[in-house]
């Protein structure tokens, strides 16, 4: 069966990090658009194109949260996985967010994340919409 590939948008200002995530997820059958510049990502963003967006939080000029807000205004159904090295952001949002896991639209994951865990989180979030 020619299953339609799920498409994921990755925005991380660290080129190598974005590349790694792209390679790992491509290896597991996802179609990846990867950007290092949030402004370019916004420019090329097309609503309903992606099953998931993976955003770095700490980026120059436009940070992950700002980017999320702009993307969401253009695609209200957007699902986002935030990646950050700041453990306090992860624990704060995980503890205080009523969005996750009830809505399954936002998730905070601490960097670096192991391939196995990344894949699990990505799979569950992508799947959530198809429920």
């Amino acid at each position: 069966m020619a299953q339609v590939k799920k498409r994921i948008l990755i925005v991380d200002d660290e080129r190598d990090v974005g590349m790694t995530l792209k390679m790992i997820l491509e290896n597991y059958g996802y179609d990846i658009d990867s950007f290092t510049d949030p402004a370019v990502a916004l420019e090329q963003f097309k609503p309903s194109r992606y099953d998931l967006t993976i955003l770095d939080i700490r980026m120059p000029e436009i940070n992950g949260f700002e980017l999320y807000d702009q993307l969401k205004s253009r695609d209200p159904n957007i699902k986002t996985l935030f990646l950050t090295a700041l453990s306090s952001v992860v624990s704060y949002n995980t503890e205080n967010s009523t969005v996750y896991p009830i809505e399954g639209k936002r998730l905070f994951v601490k960097k670096p994340v192991g391939n196995k865990e990344l894949l699990e989180q990505v799979n569950s979030m992508v799947k959530w919409r198809s429920n």
């Binding site: 190598d16 790992i24 670096p112």
Partner: protein, 516 residues
């Protein structure tokens, strides 16, 4: 005697001197008033006596005339006539020169009355001469004829009446004088009373003036107690109260400058302290940023290594040396992450920022997961890992799940690291309200060098450890209200590490479960 000596010894006290002078003035005034009044009184009495004497003249003159008549009648003798005359003379002499009459001390009359007295004396001598020349000195001679006697009698009566008149004038003058005197005495008494009261009031005012610095100083202490250290007590006198004021003011000055100095030093300390805190904050911030920045490069290292490994699996390549090398990369990248976590944890603990997200969790489950995680690190041919579960299937504690997992993993990893052969036994038991987790190994044990400071920072058994794990574990366990300990086995083979945690009561646990 003693009070006098004491007063003399204190004579150098100007205050006492001032007050003593005022007291002397007051005493002098009272004594003076007394003397003046007594003198006036005695003057009055003396005039009264003189009035009596002068009044007595009338009687004595009459008596003398009566005796003369009787003598001339022949019914009385010469002696009686002379006695009457002498009595009258003595009375007039007493009036003039003073003396003692019938025990009463009589003073001579004041010169104001000399005119009146001269009249009396003159009239008396006229009477006396007439009496002596015509009767007494001639008494031995032949008696006079009836006509002559009659003329003599008329003369004597006229002179006597002159004497009586002048005496009466004197009495009247003395009476008006005495009357005046007593009027003056009343005025003087009133005047002196008013003067005494006035002077007493003045003295009291002066004493209060002298003692004013004391109330000024009292006011000063009150102001200073309120914290008004700039208060200055005015110097008002040159006595020792003035000295006291001066030394009070200089004492306040010293205290003020001492406090200002202290304040300056405190400010310096505060500034220095703020600087230190600022540097501490910068250091913490640096550690925080550096530790976080370290994570980013690890993502590609870890991700690519794992990707390579799984790609090899997918292509069914045989396990080779390359895979072992990939594992080494992965393990060391993980160690780097652990180290970074530890540094952040230590930084949080030392800044008291360690936050616990306490929830109801099952200790048995946490240990199972941690045991599973270390299982694949163990060479199962050499080391046996045993997990003895407690009689209950679960043991609920109120704890931060991630932090508690960190403690268990840390202790397990240590056991794995130092046990080359033998066994690692994990068990968890409930003892009263405590859960006790024990991890026993048959490894190399705790080196005697580190035994006493096992849970301190940077203390490590091996060259590869950071010496932060046990320090962090201890802080986490203690933050949960538990205790941690570690010791070598007495047979010299291996060590046991254990920690305790308070257990949630069953009914409480059920309630919580029910609410979920």
């Amino acid at each position: 005697m003693n009070p006098v000596l004491a007063l003399l010894r204190r004579a150098n006290s100007k205050v006492i001197l001032k007050i003593t002078l005022l007291v002397i003035v007051e005493i002098g005034l009272i004594c003076g008033s007394f003397v003046i009044l007594t003198y006036y009184q005695s003057q009055g009495t003396s005039i009264g006596n003189s009035i009596n004497l002068a009044g007595k003249n009338r009687y004595l003159t009459s008596n003398s005339l009566l005796q003369t008549e009787r003598f001339l009648d022949g019914s009385s003798d010469l002696l009686k006539l002379e006695t009457a005359r002498d009595n009258l003379e003595a009375n007039i002499e007493a009036l003039t020169y003073g003396g003692t009459i019938s025990g009463v001390n009589i003073k001579s009359l004041p010169s104001d009355f000399s005119n009146y007295l001269n009249n009396v004396t003159r009239d008396f001598y006229a009477y006396k001469v007439l009496l002596n020349d015509n009767i007494i000195d001639r008494s031995q001679g032949a008696p006079d004829t009836g006509e002559m006697v009659l003329v003599l009698k008329q003369d004597l009566e006229a002179t006597a009446s002159n004497l009586v008149r002048s005496s009466d004038i004197l009495v009247t003058a003395l009476g008006s004088y005495a009357d005046n005197n007593s009027q003056n005495l009343i005025m003087l008494q009133i005047f002196l009373a008013v003067l005494n009261i006035g002077i007493l009031v003045l003295i009291l005012y002066l004493v209060s003036r002298i003692l004013k610095p004391i109330s000024d100083l009292t006011q000063g202490t009150r102001e200073i107690r309120k914290g008004k250290l700039s208060y200055h007590v005015e110097h008002k006198s040159d006595d020792e109260l003035g000295e006291l004021t001066d030394s009070f003011n200089s004492m306040i000055n010293s205290i003020r400058s001492y406090i200002e100095e202290q304040r300056r030093l405190t400010d310096e300390l505060k500034t220095a302290n703020e600087e230190i805190q600022q540097r501490e904050r910068m250091k913490d911030e640096f550690i925080n940023v550096a530790a976080h920045e370290m994570r980013t490069p690890v993502q590609p290292i870890l991700g690519i290594s794992e990707l390579l490994k799984s790609m090899r699996h997918e292509n069914n390549l045989p396990v080779t040396k390359e895979e072992e090398l990939l594992d080494m990369i992965i393990n060391n990248a993980k160690r780097l992450l652990l180290l970074q976590e530890n540094i952040l944890d230590v930084s949080r603990i030392e800044n008291k920022l360690l936050k616990l997200n306490k929830v109801q969790c099952d200790l048995v489950e946490i240990i199972s997961t941690a045991v599973q995680d270390v299982e694949n690190q163990i060479d199962k041919n050499m080391v046996e890992l045993r997990y003895k579960q407690t009689e209950a299937n679960s043991l609920l504690v109120y704890a931060d799940r991630a932090k508690l997992t960190q403690v268990v993993s840390n202790l397990l990893n240590n056991a794995v690291k130092f046990t080359q052969a033998g066994s690692i036994t994990v068990d968890v038991v409930k003892d009263d309200n405590k859960a006790i987790v024990r991890i026993r190994d048959t490894g190399t044990g705790i080196h005697p060098r580190v035994e006493s400071k096992l849970f301190s920072k940077f203390v490590t058994n091996s060259s590869s450890g950071t010496g932060l794990g046990l320090f962090i574990s201890k802080s986490i366990v203690e933050a949960h209200g538990g205790k941690i300990s570690g010791s070598n086995h007495t047979n010299g083979k291996g060590a046991t590490f254990s920690f305790s945690l308070p257990v949630v009561e069953l009914d409480v646990a059920q309630n919580v479960e029910g609410n979920l």
